[in-house]
């Protein structure tokens, strides 16, 4: 009988493995439960359920953006604030996949590991969330974008605080339009375009090409070129908006000379351009506070010389999210190291740590010399091309616009990205106005209005 017993040892091991599996599941459950509960498929928290007793969402100045009362979700009293903050805060549904009320619904609803979502109503207490955004700035961006579709990202490139992450079109969460699915006016209203949409970056990409060149060889700063309004690559023309004449890199950026940067991209070659784009955030998505951005993409491995040239001025198949643009600009402002933004200032309990673990880490995108040089060029561009007056406020701004051509008959997207140099108000920003036609005359005024709203608030 002893033999039987010793031969039953493998079955005992099987049982111990079974118990080990159960323990493994419990560990997994403990670690991931908050994340799993927040998934949009959760029936306990979808649509109007789950927010009956949810905590408050406030902006950085304590203005309440959403709260629950009598089992109902009440949003800010001001119509414009409600609309402006919708892409960040979300509505009762879980359609806005990057909104706080979608991503943090379990935390807001008072989920905890011990009682799950099973706490009776009487004992329910939702957790409050304080955001880094400033509802006034957000509203200024919303108003500046007006009826256009677009997005504005502004964040502090020292602390990472996002002051504004606006997106249009939007709608009133207290009174959701019935034709939201059909009316073209609301196309993509569930998206926060700042993080979830990627666009052709156009001339703003010249900063990437310039960075690639400077990183490869500092003396390329002095590479000279005669611009005659276009350049032939593979016997096909790359056209400029104007004839710049004899220029170096600084003037090429100021004049936004396509011929110069297309030629530069071809000279640098595919591997160099691919590598630099990757360093500047292309080919990946950013993650912060549980928000995952869409991927920005740049890949010229298979491109012809002509396409490579166009890619150097942000055309070809290049796509970028407004958030990535703001982040790579922050690296220029911040001595070459980018700053990962964040949206949540404070949350009840210790619930933030798990989301923070997954956030992207700051990276060195370029050397500090390159960053300083680009900063100098952007400063020069503002002073000599756009005019200091174009950013009407009190802040000194370095910037680069873009007018990205989309298709044959589409009206170009208007871009501007840049940063303020004022140490008391260090902000990186990116603005896109879809089919705005001109970075200078459409995107800059939006950026300017938003920056002014920040300085006015102090």
């Amino acid at each position: 009988m002893r033999r039987t017993r010793s031969r039953s040892f493998p079955v005992l091991m099987l049982t111990l493995a079974f118990f080990a599996g159960i323990v493994y599941f419990l560990v997994n459950l403990t670690v991931h439960s908050a994340e799993w509960v927040s998934k949009p498929y959760n029936g306990h928290l979808s649509d109007s359920t789950g927010l009956e007793f949810a905590g408050r969402i406030t902006d950085r100045n304590g203005i309440v953006l959403a709260r629950s009362e009598d089992r109902k979700r009440i949003y800010n009293d001001d119509y414009d604030i409600r609309c402006a903050c919708l892409p960040v805060v979300g509505d009762d549904s879980v359609n806005n996949s990057t909104a706080i009320q979608t991503l943090y619904r379990s935390e807001l609803s008072g989920y905890d590991f011990i009682f799950g979502l099973g706490t009776p109503d009487k004992l329910k207490k939702g957790n409050d969330i304080t955001l880094t955004i400033d509802s006034k700035v957000q509203t200024a961006a919303y108003r500046a974008l007006g009826d256009s579709k677009g997005a504005v990202v502004v964040y502090n490139y020292r602390t990472g605080d996002i002051l504004c992450m606006a997106s249009t079109p939007t709608y009133d969460p207290m009174n959701k339009p019935e034709d939201i699915e059909t009316n073209e006016k609301y196309e993509g209203a569930y998206l926060n375009r700042a993080v979830s949409s990627s666009y052709t970056p156009g001339s703003t990409f010249k900063l990437v090409t310039a960075a690639a060149a400077l990183e490869k060889d500092r003396s390329l700063e002095h590479r000279e070129f005669d611009c005659v309004g276009s350049v032939e690559i593979d016997d096909k023309p790359v056209n400029c908006f104007s004839v710049s004449g004899h220029i170096d890199m600084k003037d090429a950026l100021k004049d936004s000379c396509n011929a110069y940067f297309a030629t530069l991209a071809v000279e640098l070659g595919r591997p160099c351009m691919n590598e630099e784009a990757q360093k500047l955030g292309f080919g990946k998505s950013w993650c912060f506070d549980g928000i995952e951005t869409a991927k920005s993409s740049y890949d010229v491995s298979e491109a012809s010389d002509y396409d490579l040239g166009w890619s150097g001025v942000g055309q070809y198949t290049v796509l970028e999210t407004p958030m990535n643009m703001a982040i790579r600009t922050s690296a220029i402002a911040n001595g070459g190291v980018c700053v990962v933004p964040h949206l949540i200032k404070d949350m009840d309990g210790d619930l933030l740590s798990s989301a923070a673990d997954k956030s992207s880490k700051p990276e060195r995108m370029m050397s500090s010399e390159t960053a300083d040089k680009l900063k100098e060029m952007m400063d020069y561009t503002v002073k000599e091309s756009y005019g200091k007056w174009s950013f009407s406020g009190s802040l000194d701004v370095c910037a680069k616009t873009g007018t990205a051509e989309v298709g044959d008959d589409g009206i170009a997207h208007a871009w501007v990205t840049g940063f303020t140099t004022d140490e008391s108000c260090p902000l990186a920003f990116a603005v896109i106005v879809e089919h705005g036609n001109s970075g200078f005359s459409v995107a800059i005024p939006v950026a300017s209005a938003v920056l002014n709203a920040i300085t006015e608030n102090g």
């Binding site: 009988m1 002893r2 029936g43 989920y111």
Partner: protein, 561 residues
């Protein structure tokens, strides 16, 4: 819902796991505390030297081999020389193919040969005399069993079931759930009454554990679909009858051996007929529809398979021939694969490994079988691509949240939503998913009753196996030991496939969670399997001792314990 009632339901949810825990602790403490100590009742006294060999078990191998129960260091004794075994009608010795033979009082034995106290047994040049242990100074302590009164355990299960029922009634605002629960309690107490008063069984722990799980399953079914709970209840009653019949049938090991071949044929017939007559439900062709009832014969085939596998005529694992068992196994697994019932096929294979190893101790057979199965599995993957899909999604369910990982993703989300105490019966969302009552039942419990109760269910099943192993040396025959370990191993393995499949630790196979999952055949078959574990405990059959006997003969002291 009324706030007060909601608070009451919440309070009940907080208390349920503790009541369940008390039941489980009482059961396992009683099972362990009531066990016989490994002390000798008779002994073999050597006449050649001064050694005394205590006889500890019902079946004792004697030989030169290091793993023999009674090891005799004499080169004229074969490695596996003989087996000294005990049956209801006394002690016997059985030559197990020794070179020198076994002589009792000078007479050469043939087959099973009776021996009595004082008899001389010669093995090679060693001569042994059978003695009472007390006469040769071998310790024969009999300790008082430490057991909880079995009625108290049943009372606590009643409390647990009442709490679950009250909770469900409050949550659903309907008293309807009380009906299946009340019927369950009636069945439970009747079963207990018959067991204690009718059959005079001392122990009810194993039944209690199974009832705890079955009751949980029934109330889960009742709070989602009343009809299912009655099916489940009827299946449990059927299962209890099957359990009782099995216990009676396998009581006498010799009867088991006699029916061995008939049952092997029955098992294969069940599987083969399913293949021919079976209906395909949800992918696998493993159902037979008989009028209003549909059954899965493969569930019952599990019982027959263990029966056949464990009941060999080998005496105490001294023979290594597995040939006929291997043939039966290949046929069984083959039929299951043809039915596309891969979950059950894997379970059969695992059971085969357990039985084959316990019978032969031959690691080569196991390795060979695993390699053959590996090749078979590879072939299957190339022939049936949908199995490969399950492997593809395994470990990456979140990437397939709306495709092949749909069930697992929801199961994880809702498990997490339940916390430790659950959102309340009928208050969950997993119930709306396909197969939530069977394949996903572990997570359904996590969501509605909380993960403590879910884990306790797993602990009960694992505990059954630990217990089955604990009684291997105390059973009345190796048949019981092997059958108990196989049945326990099968239940654990099946639970592992069920639980880990749904929480994405293993690929999803779609097998049931023993006793808990909805499924009549499965419920009844699990009770059948439980009888193997029950039978392995010698106390199960220790009921009919005439009380008026003055001093029990030493060998009968086994039964008194």
């Amino acid at each position: 819902m009324n706030e007060m009632l909601e608070m009451l339901s919440f309070g009940i949810r907080l208390s349920e796991p503790f009541v369940a825990l008390i039941v489980i602790i009482m059961c396992f403490v009683s099972l362990k505390g009531g066990r016989r100590e490994e002390k000798a009742l008779i002994a073999l006294e050597s006449e050649t030297d001064d050694k005394t060999y205590p006889v500890l078990y019902w079946e004792n191998s004697i030989g030169r081999s290091r793993s023999s129960d009674i090891r005799i260091n004499d080169f004229t004794v074969s490695r596996d020389h003989a087996v000294l075994l005990r049956r209801n009608d006394g002690w016997f010795i059985n030559d197990t193919g020794s070179k020198a033979g076994v002589f009792v009082n000078g007479q050469k034995t043939d087959g099973r040969w009776p021996v009595a106290v004082g008899d001389n047994i010669s093995l090679g040049s060693t001569s042994l005399v059978l003695r009472r242990a007390s006469d040769v100074g071998v310790q024969t302590a009999v300790r008082e069993p430490k057991r909880f009164p079995q009625g108290v355990i049943v009372a606590f299960i009643t409390l647990y079931q009442a709490l679950l029922t009250l909770q469900a009634a409050i949550n659903m605002m309907s008293a309807e759930v009380i009906i299946p629960s009340a019927l369950f309690l009636v069945v439970m107490w009747a079963f207990y009454g018959v067991s204690k008063l009718g059959l005079r069984r001392l122990n009810f722990e194993l039944e209690s554990l199974a009832l705890l799980l079955s009751g949980t399953g029934i109330i889960l079914a009742a709070s989602h679909d009343m009809k299912q709970s009655f099916v489940q209840l009827a299946a449990m009653v059927l299962g209890i009858f099957l359990y009782s019949f099995m216990l009676w049938f396998i009581e006498i090991p010799d009867r088991v051996m006699k029916w061995n071949i008939a049952i092997a044929i029955l098992a294969l017939l069940m599987l083969a007929s399913t293949l021919v007559l079976g209906k395909s439900l949800n992918g696998a062709k493993n159902w037979i529809v008989l009028g209003p009832v549909s059954v899965q014969p493969s569930e019952f085939a599990k019982i027959a398979y263990i029966f056949v596998g464990a009941s060999t005529l080998d005496v105490l694992q001294t023979k290594k021939s597995l040939a006929s068992f291997i043939v039966i196994s290949i046929l069984s697994v083959g039929f299951l694969v043809l039915m596309s019932d891969f979950g059950t096929a894997v379970i059969f294979f695992m059971t085969f490994l357990i039985i084959a190893f316990m019978r032969s101790g031959d690691i080569k057979t196991v390795i060979l079988a695993v390699s053959a199965a590996g090749i078979g599995a590879m072939t299957m993957l190339s022939v049936k691509p949908y199995i490969a899909d399950r492997f593809a999604v395994w470990g990456h369910v979140w990437d397939y949240a709306d495709g092949t990982g749909y069930q697992q993703v929801r199961s994880l989300i809702y498990s997490a939503s339940g916390g430790l105490f659950g959102t309340g019966l009928s208050k969950g969302y997993l119930q709306y998913l396909f197969a939530s009552e069977n394949d996903l039942v572990f997570c359904l419990i996590c969501e509605e009753l909380g993960c403590i109760i879910a884990v306790l269910c797993a602990v009960v099943i694992g505990g059954l196996m630990i217990y089955a192993r604990g009684v291997t040396t105390r059973s009345r025959s190796t048949f019981y030991s092997i059958a108990a370990c196989s049945a326990g191993g099968l239940l654990v393995f099946q639970s592992a496939l069920n639980i880990f499949g749904v929480v994405d630790i293993l690929p999803l196979t779609g097998v049931t969670l023993p006793f808990v999952s909805y499924g009549g055949t499965s419920m009844a078959a699990c009770w059948g399997l439980l009888s193997f574990i029950k039978a392995a405990d010698e106390r199960t059959y220790a009921r009919h001792i005439p009380k008026q006997k003055k001093a029990p003969a030493p060998e009968e002291m086994f039964e008194q314990i």
